[in-house]
Amino acid sequence: MKELILVIVGAALVNNIILSQFQGLCPFLGVSKKTDTAAGMGAAVIFVITLASFVTSIIYKLVLVPLDITYLQTIAFILVIAALVQFVEMFLKKSMPSLYQALGVFLPLITTNCAVLGAALTNVQKEYNILFSVFNGLGTAIGFTLAIVLLASIRESIEDNDIPVNFKGSPIVLITSGLMAIAFMGFAGLI
């Protein structure tokens, strides 16, 4: 139990997928203009990464390892994740239309989100079993949501600031996220 919590905290804060591993930067910069859309994206990512960690680790443990073809993990994982997102989209559209509406375009966007693949590959690299993989995925996704919501709220509050012309738009966002990454380095000694 204690180890599971450590895995979540480690994935969410210490090895934050965005701010210390620099994966999934496209949605981080692209979908962080408003806090509520950022939170929607975060929710979708939590959902998909947790599920994808589970499925990819099953594929790895039950198919790739027994056949001794673990070098195919990347391509197999991409295949599985893309199909999974498609399936989840169909399922939500049918059974939970309101959630489908709320997640909107973010759900298909996640197919190409490298954070999902990153989490799946980290599970393999750290040799987690299936349970630990799911929790690591959950922690990673929580870290993603945390970072994107924080950035979105910072962006909202600096929107009306008197930013020098050269820094308006993307540059100030990149500087902001750089400073956030430095701040997250403070978690390095936590575990």
Binding site: V63, L64, I69, A76, V80, A83, F87, M90, F91, K94
Partner: protein, 261 residues
């Protein structure tokens, strides 16, 4: 060689299994979508400007297909799109009129007098709460700080000589500027309307004269000229009823201050 075949076989098998599963799932989780909704959505402009009051073109298409929005609901597409959608829905379009935004003020820098010098934030909504409503003497008129210009996504409205002017050809009547103007100066008028009152001042004639050379003084001459009962006084400013107006132009000829276009 064995490894090669094994790799191709495994990935191929995973692909085929996933393909079959997704195919089955897509049948199983099929959602009935109104076919007309897709057709309607295809006809809409796709700017997602929100001028119709729905969240984007998909929202409007959904509402039209459900029958809760009129077929002429898209102000951007105008009558052309309304006709096509009416054909899809199998109803009459009801003769939607193409509209454009129009700024009901002509108080340019040389016409309207200045009551003080204003140095501050250049945004109409902020200037409108300053005592006196900005540097121009008339509190009803265009302040010229361009909140409407910022609101326009189609580059159709610009501040010229201190007053916002709409480019009739570029305007799609989405209504964003109408909402942006704190003085409620902008109105959607028929594209064909030739005669428009370019003033919104509710001041008495004498006060208007003191503040602006281009203001309606409320003399009511135009209302007496109109043969079609299309122009009326509303609290000291002439207002044209575009449904009744026949563009005869008699009101414009008689206007002593030439405030009617």
């Amino acid at each position: 060689m064995m490894g090669l075949l094994l790799a191709a076989g495994v990935i191929g098998a995973i692909g085929i299994i996933i393909g079959v599963l997704l195919g089955v799932a897509s049948e199983k989780f099929k959602v009935e979508v109104d076919e007309r909704e897709i057709l309607v959505r295809a006809e809409l402009p796709g700017n997602n400007c929100g001028g119709c009051g729905f969240p984007g073109c998909d929202g409007l298409a959904n509402a039209i297909a459900a029958g809760t929005a009129p077929v002429s609901g898209c102000p951007v597409g105008g009558p052309v799109v309304a006709e096509k959608i009416a054909a899809i829905m199998g109803v009459e379009s009801g003769g939607a009129v193409k509209k454009v935004a129009f700024v009901k003020c002509k108080g340019t820098c040389d016409k309207t007098r200045v009551q003080y010098n204003y140095f501050g934030m250049d945004d109409c909504r902020k200037v409108s709460v300053v005592p006196g409503g900005g540097e121009k003497a008339c509190v009803y008129g265009c302040m010229g700080y361009g909140s409407c210009v910022k609101a326009c996504e189609f580059d159709a409205i610009h501040v010229v000589d201190g007053v916002a002017v709409v480019d009739k050809e570029k305007c799609v009547a989405c209504g964003k500027c109408v909402q942006a103007c704190p003085n409620h100066l902008i109105e959607l008028v028929p594209y064909d309307a030739k005669h428009l009152v370019q003033c919104s001042s509710h001041d008495k004639g004498k006060d208007v004269k003191a503040k602006c050379d281009a203001g309606c003084i409320g003399c009511t001459l135009c209302t007496k000229q109109c043969e079609f009962d299309a122009i009326h006084m509303d609290n000291n400013v002439a207002v044209i009823d575009y449904e009744k107006c026949t563009n005869c132009g008699k009101c414009a000829q008689k206007c002593p201050v030439k405030v009617i276009l």
